[in-house]
Symmetry: C2
């Protein structure tokens, strides 16, 4: 075997420790369970997509990792037309088109997978990370009430986790585009791209951009910024928009949809949603509601959960599947909270009981005790060696295993935190419920 | 938006339907839960490894997928020294070396992830698939009792799944190598490689190979085949080996270890393990016990769960971490059983209750009913439209959703399989336990 030098981490590819991974798994279980409570069915797509699929979103093309087989068979078709997916929306749109004949519409699915982006790593950005997506797509038309459902699911999912409170900021592309059109702006998409930079470059520079890139007059730029300033936790934003005196049918449609989203959320989860009319989202395929989510105390790191409505992503020939979706950036949430020491777990291993070993000859009977405990759902391991009991107890202590079992006549079990030791029978003893599994604190 | 032609599957990259994915998730939950009952801590490593790590196993090098960023930044370090992992053992060995200062040894971890192999696709072979691994590594030395533990964990994990029974075939490299040495064979590794082909090419051709490639005489070749014929579900294989009259200290050591594995399994899970002295495993890094697993009725597709002891995989400078591990090929198991129509699930979605809608104005109160049911853990969705009730019931029927809820004064709920309809209150009603979640049958 080749020896090797000590390996080192690769920037942008995080690896959690086993206790951190236990926390991540607990988060995944909670998120999955909320998604299923809402009836979303699970889907997992392959990690790779044909390059032409991945490049349909132009702006992200340089982030794509392309695959190549190390040793191509001569004469076999090249594999380098495949790349790793960089989100779960593009693969989902492809899946819907590929399987449209077999799926029942409206189709509600969730998808929790790693995605890869070959961007330059920076704080809070990863090259490999986990996303947790829900989407609803329908054939031909999609009722707008699904746009109101997304924040409710996310509110329940994130609310089930031991993390700071979140605020979901919502806007509607129709409001912006209708308003820009009503203003007489020639290039609403360029205006949207300028407004998207508001938090980064400030209103003065955005006004300049609007003039330079979207062909706005100074008065139009001012009016665009006036819209972007509007924000309310209830439907009052609609009055504030109307007070600006711009009128357009698309604007009215967008306002009605956004009012519905905000009012549904207010009825169901007060304080969860805020209409925030500066929210633009970078991606150009959104056509209705858009979402971003801020984690209290970590606002400067940007949105941890984003999405929106898209009408034209899954379209092939005469088939058209409008959809709406939202995606939790789980790796980012965990990275922020781990980095700030805000998440810990009560032990390093799932084990609740370590069965101590008087001598190696009794290993098989110790295995029998462990088996009896496991049959009743108690995570148990047997001591690695028949060392002195003090050393075996330290094995448990170093991992945070709360109980050590001593075979004998009768057996006894010791809570090594308190030192309490009691007689016990492997066919009946159980730990306190709070000790059965590691707990997040 | 670009329209696109109907996409097609990519050979070797399976995608399960949502009901199949529900089955896979149920399998994953069971496997994970058994691994944790034995105290294995979860680990997830990044999907990529430096190429030099991946190429340490020479024979698999041509299966590696190498990554390249579509648009490299000029002057940035090339990323194409990274490849996708093709198993979870090599990444685990790297992880142990990288983090040896932080880990507690012996270190017991499980790891469930996708792996990628750029091999030519064929029946039952995938380019992307899920493996479920457990390994124990220790610093410097690893007690052989961990070799006896692997089959017990796997027996419990696979035994918890609704699949045909399995048989774990075990052997020990020391038995083969010691026996070959005792026979006076010059190249025991070449002999092992020849024996590994026994099931494919038969004993006559293996005998020829032994002569051609391992420098065996005809008598030696015959003796090698005599060893490979030995098989027993108990420790009697050891007597059969000794009756062949070959003696070597390594052979004795291997026999003692293999007896321990088989006897532990017989005590704990009768019928699970068979000593099968022809089992060689292709990989050259195994140094002790090796495992293969056959699924009853699907033997011809090869092992669904394999592994072994390795003493030199994680070695760097003066650090040495011997280990033993075993890996369930979950995608292969599912592919075989789905292909044979042996696994189905009672519905296509997690939803247990569909709340019907009399008219669109009552959507918010229907949302309230759904919320009340979800709060008590009942997966619920609200009807997509206020269509005629017959159409809403068909929405539920097509997905296998068992109950439709009719808001009213009072509300009522209908089991659409039996047609039974009863008055119900969303704050107290519960479905029969068997209907709460989809069941595998």
């Amino acid at each position: 075997m080749t020896k090797m030098s000590k390996p080192r981490p690769i920037s942008g590819f995080p690896e959690w420790t086993p206790p951190q991974r236990m926390i991540e798994q607990r988060f995944l279980d909670k998120i999955k369970s909320v998604f299923e409570l809402y009836g979303y069915a699970p889907l997992e797509t392959r990690a790779v997509e044909p390059l032409d699929q991945l490049l349909r979103k132009g702006e992200t093309s340089k982030e794509v990792y392309v695959l190549r087989r190390l040793q191509e068979d001569p004469g076999s078709p090249a594999d380098d037309s495949l790349g790793l997916h960089f989100d779960l929306t593009v693969p989902f749109a492809r899946y819907v088109l590929e399987n449209s004949g077999k799926l029942q519409f409206p189709f509600r699915r969730y998808q929790i997978q790693k995605v890869w982006r070959g961007e330059r790593p920076q704080e809070g950005r990863y090259r490999e990370f986990v996303q947790c997506d829900i989407d609803v797509v329908d054939r031909d038309t999609l009722p707008p009430h699904y746009e109101a459902e997304m924040p409710l699911v996310i509110g329940d999912a994130l609310g089930s986790l031991p993390i700071p409170p979140v605020t979901i900021q919502v806007n509607n592309r129709k409001v912006c585009e209708g308003y820009y059109r009503g203003l007489g702006l020639g290039d609403p998409e360029a205006a949207l791209r300028a407004v998207d930079k508001l938090d980064k470059i400030g209103p003065g520079r955005v006004a300049e951009l609007l003039v330079e890139t979207a062909g706005a007059t100074e008065a139009q730029a001012k009016a665009v910024l006036a819209l972007a300033e509007i924000s309310s936790p209830d439907a009052s934003f609609a009055d504030a928009v109307r007070a600006l005196g711009v009128s357009d049918p698309l604007l009215d449609e967008g306002l009605a949809e956004l009012v519905e989203v905000v009012e549904t959320a207010a009825a169901y989860a007060p304080g969860l949603c805020v209409a925030e009319l500066k929210i633009a989202r970078g991606l150009d395929y959104y056509t209705g509601t858009v979402y971003e989510t801020q984690l209290a105390g970590f606002e400067r790191f940007g949105s941890i959960c984003s999405g929106g409505r898209y009408d034209n992503l899954a379209t092939s020939g005469n088939e058209r599947f409008p959809g709406v979706g939202i995606s939790i950036g789980l790796t980012r949430v965990l990275g922020l909270l781990f980095g700030a020491d805000k998440l810990a777990i009560s032990r390093d291993v799932p084990t609740c009981v370590l069965v101590a070993l008087g001598d190696e000859e009794h290993r098989r009977s110790a295995d029998g005790i462990a088996a009896a405990l496991r049959r009743r759902g108690i995570p148990t391991e047997v001591s690695p060696t028949a060392a002195k009991y003090g050393k075996q107890i330290r094995y448990a202590e170093r991992r945070g295993i709360p109980f050590v079992w001593f075979p004998g006549q009768p057996d006894s079990v010791k809570d090594i935190r308190s030192g309490d030791q009691v007689e016990a029978d492997a066919s009946t003893w159980a730990p306190p419920a709070a000790d059965l599994y590691p707990t997040i604190n």
